[in-house]
């Protein structure tokens, strides 16, 4: 009997090594590609972190160089300026009468450089204290220089704005009966003193011109007096 030919009679498929390795190669390529993409994401995340770190450091470098630190073990936080122990930055500004006043002219005296503004409530509170302390210590060679810092965002070309700022400063000085020199345009020297993001800000300079204390914000009359004594003692 003749057996009918069927599927069983088909010649067996020839064995092909290449066909078995194709899926393996493809899987390897996919795996490598996925790992590569993940590596790129990891790198991008690191680059992002590094960029933000550097940008933050740059921003800090351009802003007020000060920090609150505890001094003398008292636990009281005081403002520690980067100018401490260094010569106070030199400046020459006009007073309310238009006369030029230089810090250098006060060498040999202890000076409190007090940055203030008419819109600053805490500045208004401490001004009578400064008037009183100046009177108390003037005979020992102490002076206050009030530096009006009105127009942080006034454009240099805004003549009307600056005129109004000057008029306000004059009115304030008259109302508060300020006897010490009041200088205008403190904004022009604020960067030299660390940026002055907040007012009032004061720097206490000894007779040799060195900064021996600094404060930012309203403290107390006794704290201010303590700093005056430091400036007189050096």
């Amino acid at each position: 009997m003749t057996r009918r030919s069927g599927l069983r009679d088909l010649p067996p498929p020839s064995y092909n090594k290449d066909m078995k390795s194709i899926p393996l190669r493809r899987n390897t390529v996919v795996l490598v590609a996925v790992l590569f993409i993940l590596a790129i994401f990891a790198w991008a995340g690191w680059a992002n972190w590094e960029y933000r770190r550097q940008a933050a450091e740059k921003l800090l470098a351009n802003t007020a160089q000060g920090e609150l630190v505890a001094v003398d073990g008292s636990g009281t936080l005081q403002f520690h300026s980067s100018l401490m122990g260094k010569p106070a930055p030199a400046f020459t500004l006009n007073d309310l009468g238009g006369r030029k006043v230089s810090l250098a002219a006060f060498r040999g005296k202890a000076v409190m450089i007090n940055f203030w503004a008419t819109w600053c409530g805490p500045c208004k509170v401490e001004t009578p204290w400064l008037v009183e302390l100046r009177q108390k210590y003037a005979a020992q060679g102490f002076e206050v220089l009030g530096v009006d810092t009105e127009g942080d965002d006034l454009e240099p070309s805004d003549k009307g704005g600056w005129a109004k700022a000057e008029a306000n400063a004059g009115k304030f000085v008259t109302q508060m009966k300020v006897p010490y020199p009041v200088l205008l345009n403190g904004d022009s020297i604020s960067r030299d003193f660390g940026g002055l993001d907040d007012l009032p800000a004061s720097f206490f300079v000894d007779r040799s011109g060195k900064v021996v204390a600094a404060s930012v914000g309203l403290t107390s009359e006794s704290d201010i007096e303590g700093n005056i004594k430091k400036a007189l003692a050096e």
Binding site: A44, G45, W119, G121, P122, D152, G217
Partner: protein
């Protein structure tokens, strides 16, 4: 090749995010100062062209700070003021400010201040020319906390105004 192309796009996208990240919100090292006042919303308004239309603008004062209201208690104090510069295709008809909260501070309990704290809104009536206008309005203010004051500031108030 497709995978490599997608990977390159992903890296470029991640890198561009770096540019837009503000270092002011960085958590590195010491605290970095942020704006005392932030504009919240709306980012876009659609109004009838040529007619005064109301827009409610939402702002937030940073915690621990206060800004003078539009009508502060002293002539020396800087009032909060909203404005739209000329030439933007949109003009400010009128702005209605909220009444300030009356406070006094520990260092000067006898002086009363009219201030805004937390979130506040300004109701503005604006007139827009037909078309799409990317307006860079402004808010001018001056902020203090309990012991010190920051200089007057002007922040941008970006609004996309569509005049239909």
């Amino acid at each position: 090749m497709v995978f490599l192309g997608l990977a390159g796009l992903a890296a470029a996208g991640a890198r561009s995010q770096v540019i837009s990240n503000s270092p002011r919100n960085s958590s590195f090292g010491k605290a970095v100062k942020t704006e005392a006042v932030q504009y919240l919303f709306p980012e876009q308004v659609s109004i009838s062209a040529g007619k005064p239309s109301p827009v409610t603008l939402h702002f937030r004062v940073a915690q621990g700070l206060h800004i003078n209201s539009h009508t502060p208690s002293d002539d020396f104090l800087i009032p909060t003021e909203f404005s739209i510069p000329d030439g933007m295709g949109v003009r400010l008809g009128a702005a209605t400010y909220p009444p300030g909260t009356i406070i006094s501070l520990a260092f000067d309990p006898t002086t009363k201040l009219s201030v805004y704290t937390g979130e506040f809104v300004i109701h503005a009536r604006i007139v827009a020319e037909p078309g799409n206008h990317l307006v860079k309005a402004s808010l001018h203010y001056q902020a203090c906390d309990q012991n010190q004051c920051m200089p007057p500031r002007t922040i941008d108030v970006p609004i996309d105004v569509i005049g239909k």
